[in-house]
Symmetry: C2
Subunit: 126 residues, 2 copies
DNA sequence: CGGGATCCAGTAGGATACTG
DNA sequence: CAGTATCCTACTGGATCCCG
């Protein structure tokens, strides 16, 4: 899917939806945000992120590591200690992520009201 | 943007992944971008967005309309004409979207190389 | 032209048990 | 503690046919 040399931002909309499709899953962003302040260990993250299973935490961490968004450090000891920390690439992502967060906060009510209106109008139409 | 007081945005990380989960699907962003310049009609969009089926275009447009991101105008005529245009809410979203687009462009190579490295190391480990 | 109604495959995500 | 291995369900997305 490697296009030619990227022209402008708007023309590269495919790249955007690629990124969004990648980080738009259920847990990735929550993990990134949880690691924003400081590195954390596995079960530390598991406790921090309400509702995530070991399975999904493992998968999400692996994908983020694969993309170079975080670094995994194993401290050989018993019991084993594994620390996850955002890489500089991972931190650079949280910048535009926060922009989106502010948009979400600013317009969440508008979206919610629109949905209520739309659903009501759909009911009347039946 | 004001990010001096951190908890406001950071604490609302759930809202972010909600938004990302919503627009992080396969087509939503591409539709928004396709409507960024000017309003378009159904089959116009279908031609513009390579690979989308009527089904998915219909679904995507409906969800965007439900969220108040676009306005649907029916011109009664034969054959019927339906025009889709971004609402101000929809246009406001493309702002943070472009931030993300620039991040994608700036770091796409880094991500790709990281994946290649990671996959190679996984092969060696087996 | 602009959809609606179906059917179907693939994958994301969840629960649980087990391991080094 | 930090995972791996299974199994299962639900939802996303695609193809097709039909209708006003």
């Amino acid at each position: 899917m490697d296009m030619t040399s990227p022209p402008a931002a708007a023309a590269d909309c495919l790249g955007v939806s690629e990124v969004l499709g990648r980080i738009g899953d259920k847990w990735t962003v929550q993990v990134v945000v949880a690691l924003h302040d400081r590195p954390r260990r596995f079960n530390d993250l598991k406790r921090e992120i309400a509702g995530i299973s070991q399975q999904m935490l493992t998968r999400t961490l692996k994908l983020l590591e694969r993309d170079g968004m975080l670094e995994r450090t194993v401290h050989p000891s018993a019991p084993p200690q594994v620390e996850y920390a955002l890489s500089s690439l991972g931190r650079s992502l949280s910048q535009p992520l926060m922009q989106l967060a502010e948009w979400a906060i600013a317009h969440r009510d508008a979206v919610h009201e629109s949905r209520v209106r739309y659903d009501a109008s759909q009911l009347r139409a039946r």
